[in-house]
Amino acid sequence: MAVKVAQEWFAICGGCEVTILDVGEPLIDLLAELEFVHMPVIMDHKLYGQTGEESKADIPEADVGILTGSIRNEENKELAELMRSRVNFLISMGSCACYGGVPALANQFAVDEIYQRVYQGNSTTDPGETPAEGLPALLDRVYAVHEVVDVDLMLPGCPTTPDMFVAAVMHLLKGTPFALETKSVCDQCPTIREQKTGEGITLKRPLESVEGVGEALETVRCFMEQGYLCQGPATRAGCGGMDGGTPRCIRAYMPCRGCFGPLTDQANPMVDMMGAISTIGLNPRDIPDRAAQFNRFAGSGRLRTKRR
């Protein structure tokens, strides 16, 4: 009997759904064993019945629920609770669902500041009223899914990788063990670390290309030691694939941006990174907007409203 899967999306770009489509050929085998009963991105299944005849939103019962995106408004929260009550096993997929992701950068501002900025204070649009009718109200901040309902498995990444998704699903189908990587991106990075302290290194912008583009990574110097803000030391490994391959951004000669989130739930990437860059001799004062820079994908519960 096919395993029933329900999926719902919240504050998200849709990239994690594309990851599911990006699985490629293994998807053909998987689809025989999975039955999607609710998935707004690919199928027309409505919450209030197909003709809107129901008065209460409902999601069909399923074995596995997948939630993507962070919880931004009342509707997201209600649907997350509804999903939790309808499924046996809940997966939060992608860094938005796991750690707040990019939408959680808004946690640096109070909700009324956001409304003011978007509807009145924007220089490129005409000021207007904040719409209130028929729209769900924003919550006081952006939440990760596990802060609202219990989650059984978190699959981080922006977006998460297709083979991690497949491995997690296979784990559910066969009962084989599945665990996230506990090492950092640096542990899987092949570049050369020459010395712990870089003498006279200066901070470089990520737009400037690293030294050694196109050469074998084993001969290229650590991007951090070259002066780039590479978030490898404070980021969970796994983006290179389930077999521990070279991290995705490093493979493209780009510094790590931290999309797999912090190494542990308690860790704060900003503190880790500020410690790391001051230790290797970069000036911590040169970092633009350090809180958002280093918590770009992990803002839920870590970014605080700035005092003004």
Binding site: N268, G275, T279, R304
Partner: protein, 135 residues
């Protein structure tokens, strides 16, 4: 507020500052009992995580003590501590903590009275600004 006693976690290095604290004790120098001393091998091994964790989990202040610059047993450990302290000074703001809550002081092994003075000063300052918001 009247029964508020600030709690200070002090990371002191084995070679200088811990010895200074020891000297303050054996010399019978009086100083406030608000400080909890943790001996570390070098001030350069105190990662910012240890300081932020202490401050966000109940400590009112963190004191970090090491050898004077140039005197480090490991040659440049205290310079690393200084670099990290600069980063910490910046980050206190991100956690809504007052700058007085973290202090870096150089205390040599012979400076028992100076160690007692640093603790006295810090306790007084923390008494003025009140308990941490994380308490």
């Amino acid at each position: 507020m009247s029964d508020y006693e600030p709690l200070i976690i002090a990371y002191t290095c084995y070679w200088c500052s811990y010895t200074a604290a020891d000297l303050a004790g054996t010399s019978r120098i009086q100083y406030p009992p608000n400080v909890r001393i943790i001996r570390v091998q070098c001030s350069g091994m105190v990662h910012p995580n240890l300081v932020i964790d202490a401050l966000t989990k109940g400590a009112d202040g963190v004191l970090m003590c090491g050898c004077h610059p140039g005197d480090c047993h490991y040659r440049e450990g205290n310079l690393r501590a200084q670099a990290r302290a600069d980063a910490l000074d910046l980050m206190l703001e991100d956690f809504d903590l007052e700058p007085e809550r973290f202090r870096l002081s150089w205390v040599a092994a012979s400076e028992g009275p100076q160690f007692a003075q640093v603790v006295k000063d810090m306790v007084e300052e923390l008494r003025e600004i009140g308990p941490s918001i994380y308490k």
